[in-house]
């Protein structure tokens, strides 16, 4: 066997050749982060999350339902030793509310990270950038590692990084819409200009969406409905995992230039004479 052939055999079974994925000094094993909402059952959620290969798993903070204490919290289903629980402030419409939810989440005792969301509008669920920046400043000063959900807007993203966010999370498209990435140019501009991690959050509908997001060079991707609302969430979780890896690898590989005209792949020389 030639050296090249031997190497090819090794490459076929290698893990994906990539740099470690780290945020604020902590290394994570997967660039795909997943939510835990909207599953048809807890069993389906547990299996889909395992299939996704994700380490970071988001959860929401809510009142215990005192009428149905058998409807157990997420900790009865996901092992905090195995998953990195990232609490969100979903549903908060003011900086003060989001700060309160973040503090409650930290008191659960797992970590000091928060996926900060301050929603500005009920109909679109688009983020309130000004309130998110304000809350980021307060929480970062309290030692939180803030991952801030925001618009695909460069200036908001820059302000969030200035305010102390360890990751900025621009949306691909509105939460739960499944529309995929609406503005790849804006996402690339954010990635190019920020030093902190850029994780695209929200709007991914299917595997190709995830792949295209990762091809922009962002550090990671977070999704929930794209998996949970699929007909078969477990299969879709596998697909999202493969697509995230594929998009990341394609970005690292560097795509060929787009051309308006065809260029043959096979040699022109050596064609048979007529």
């Amino acid at each position: 066997m030639t050296d090249a052939l031997a190497e090819a055999h090794v490459l076929a079974t290698d893990p994906i050749p990539d740099l470690p994925f780290a945020i604020a000094g902590r290394t994570f094993r997967s660039r795909l982060m997943v939510g835990t909402g909207k599953y048809r059952s807890n069993d389906e959620m547990v299996r889909a999350i395992a299939a996704s290969g994700a380490e970071v798993v988001t959860v929401a903070v809510r009142r215990v339902d005192l009428d149905r204490t058998k409807d157990e919290g997420m900790l009865y289903h996901l092992d905090p030793q195995h998953y990195f629980l990232l609490a969100n402030t979903a549903g908060c419409f003011t900086a003060d509310d989001a700060i309160r939810y973040a503090r409650l989440a930290r008191a659960a005792g797992f970590n000091e990270w928060v996926k900060l969301e301050v929603i500005g509008d009920q109909a679109t669920l688009l983020p309130d950038a000004a309130a998110t920046i304000e809350a980021t400043r307060v929480l970062a000063a309290e030692g939180f590692k803030v991952m801030a959900y925001t618009n695909d807007d460069l200036i908001s993203a820059l302000r969030l990084e200035d305010a102390g966010a360890v990751a900025v999370m621009p949306l691909a498209s509105p939460i739960g819409s499944g529309l995929g990435m609406l503005n790849p140019h804006a996402i690339r501009a954010i990635k190019q200009r920020l030093s902190c991690a850029v994780i695209v959050d929200a709007g991914v509908g299917t595997a190709s969406d995830a792949c295209i997001v990762m091809e922009q060079g962002v550090d990671g991707i977070l999704m929930n409905t794209g998996i949970a609302a699929a007909d078969d969430p477990i299969r879709m979780a596998f697909a999202m995992r493969a697509a995230t890896d594929a998009g990341r690898l394609a970005y690292l590989a560097g795509r060929m230039p787009r051309r308006e005209v065809a260029v043959p792949s096979s040699p022109i020389a050596g064609m048979l004479g007529s």
């Binding site: 835990t36 903070v61 009142r63 215990v64 919290g73 900790l75 969100n88 979903a90 739960g176």
Partner: protein, 76 residues
């Protein structure tokens, strides 16, 4: 028919709803009554988060206390 002497009842607000407990009830007793595992909930009393779970056993509730009992649920 003789009735047992009643302990003074305290009225609290728990997760937005009125809730009555006997005088001297501790937070740990309330959680037990509600069948909640203290390790699985975060308690906020009158807007102050009670971070030290070891204090739940000795912390007595007061009339008019507003408690929020929260936990992690599915979310994105």
């Amino acid at each position: 028919m003789a009735s047992a002497p009643l302990a003074t009842a305290y009225s609290l607000t728990v997760n937005g709803r009125p809730h009555v407990v006997a005088e001297g009830t501790t937070l740990a007793q309330l959680l037990s009554e509600l069948q909640l595992d203290p390790r699985m909930v975060v308690v906020e009393r009158n807007r102050e988060i009670l971070r030290d779970r070891d204090q739940f056993e000795t912390l007595t509730l007061h009339a008019g206390d507003t408690l929020e009992l929260v936990h992690f649920v599915g979310g994105g």
